[in-house]
């Protein structure tokens, strides 16, 4: 079965974010979206640890570990960037000022509930970071994740079995198989990886899923 690569997923997310947007990219897969934001567009990246206007990674040897992103990787600051402390940074998130955030996930429910901070395993060390703040803070919350677990189970579920990050917060899910909108009427697949019949996607997903890809392709 063909799948969208991580870079294809990231490129698609990047294409869906409008010019001028203020965006936070979560740790892991979402970080890759930054590589696909074309230089002729101005999209302002926020990092929870106190920087708006984050630029790309520095050249090797030019790293400054006082200038890092949420994943503790060295970054740069663009002209127009500003620094602020943690309460101000999370006020920016919680106050609904960011247009988009893109998060990784373990599970997303049909209601848009998000589980991405804890597997619930009894021996796991829990760590939440800023995930819960982003989940409830940004105007649009997008998720990027594999469609299926390694065991082939759908990560899109009727009800999350992993501990929740936020309730009814996810608006759109980008997976290696499809792009799926969470709507009041239920999940709608707006794009499917070429070669995968919608019926097969629906079977793999295992929860009610409407086919919205035709409408999108026409538009």
């Amino acid at each position: 079965m063909k799948r969208f690569t991580h870079d294809e997923m990231a490129a698609r997310v990047a294409r869906d974010i409008p010019d001028g947007a203020y965006v936070n990219l979560g740790i892991g897969l979402p970080t890759r979206v930054a590589n696909h934001l074309p230089p002729d567009r101005e999209i302002v990246l926020h990092t929870e640890n106190g920087l708006l206007g984050m630029g790309p990674a520095p050249a090797t040897g030019a790293e400054d570990f006082d200038l890092i992103n949420a994943g503790k990787q060295p970054v740069t600051a663009l002209p127009g960037a500003s620094y602020f402390h943690h309460a101000d940074s999370f006020a920016m998130m919680r106050g609904g000022h960011l247009d988009y955030c893109v998060l990784g996930a373990f599970q997303v429910s049909v209601a848009g509930d998000l589980a991405n901070w804890h597997t619930g395993a009894s021996d796991a060390i829990p760590a939440v970071g800023g995930a819960m703040d982003l989940a409830i803070g940004a105007k649009h919350v997008y998720v990027m994740m594999e469609h299926l677990t390694k065991d082939g189970a759908s990560k899109i579920v009727a009800r999350c079995t992993y501990p929740l990050t936020g309730l009814a917060c996810v608006e759109r899910i980008y997976t290696d198989l499809a792009v799926i909108d969470v709507t009041p009427a239920g999940l709608v697949a707006v794009d499917v990886v070429p070669g995968l019949p919608f019926a097969e996607l629906a079977r793999l997903t295992g929860v009610p899923l409407a086919d919205g890809s035709a409408a999108v392709h026409v538009a």
Binding site: D19, Y22, P39, V44, L52, P79, G80, S82, M92, H97
Partner: protein, 239 residues
């Protein structure tokens, strides 16, 4: 090569040409925060432009209620302000407000200054409500929910949101980043974050990257329109 990577046109450009253009879409019934304390930080030119729009039935949030016949006082004088939320309306030259208040032509919500600031800050920060010790046991907390926490008594206060914030800063860039001047900073940064649309008049527009990122007080995300108003000196104010 660096030149080739530069955008062919800046896609984020919050600079608007005139104060009139900046406030053109203020609608009747809007809640408008106005920065400033006394005359410091009062965006006089934006207020004049707002008056010229004819918008009415407004709610104004400002620390004071106008001095002499300019600024907030000039706006009140049009009788288009239904309600004002402030901490200190009574000043020796607040005759415009005084007259409207005595004749019942304006509603007043009087808020202790720190609660006013914190309620504005809460709106921008997504806080639903907070317990403050200020005002507990006084007339200004009458009817409000109270609670004792760790042996101290508090009043529950709610955020103040606005449709527009009109503020004054010293310099701004096309991303909307702002720095202020001395005590004219006052309410500007918190109002910027509390309004759906924040309009800043600045003494000068500078190029992107010219403001020190360590010293930017209001990050551009909070500012929607920037208009350059040179020679906007702050007038003296009667105490």
């Amino acid at each position: 090569m660096a030149a080739r990577r530069r955008p062919s046109r800046p896609v984020i450009d919050k600079i608007v040409p005139t104060a009139a253009a900046a406030v053109a879409d203020v609608h009747d019934g809007a809640t408008i925060m106005v920065g400033g304390f006394g005359t410091a930080g009062i965006p006089f030119e934006l207020i004049d432009a707002l008056i010229a729009t004819g918008a009415r039935d407004l709610t104004v949030v400002n620390n004071n209620a106008g001095n002499a016949d300019t600024g907030v006082a000039a706006l009140l004088k049009t009788k288009r302000v239904r309600r004002i939320v402030c901490s200190f309306p009574r000043q020796v030259d607040s005759w415009v407000f005084d007259a409207l208040y005595r004749t019942g032509e304006i509603e007043l919500e009087l808020v202790p200054q720190g609660n006013l600031a914190e309620r504005i800050r809460a709106a921008g920060a997504g806080i639903g409500a907070f317990y403050t010790p200020t005002g507990y046991g006084t007339q200004l907390a009458e009817g409000k929910e109270t609670r004792e926490i760790a042996g101290r008594r508090y009043v529950l206060e709610y955020p103040i949101h606005a449709d527009f914030a009109l503020i004054k800063a010293q310099a701004g860039d096309r991303w909307g980043n702002l720095v202020y001047r001395k005590t004219a900073r006052n309410f500007g940064p918190i109002m910027a974050a509390a309004a759906k649309c924040t309009i800043a008049q600045v003494a000068s527009v500078v190029g992107l990257g010219e403001l020190d990122p360590e010293a930017i007080v209001t990050p551009g995300i909070y500012v929607h329109r920037v208009v350059a108003i040179a020679d906007a000196a702050t007038p003296a104010v009667a105490a």
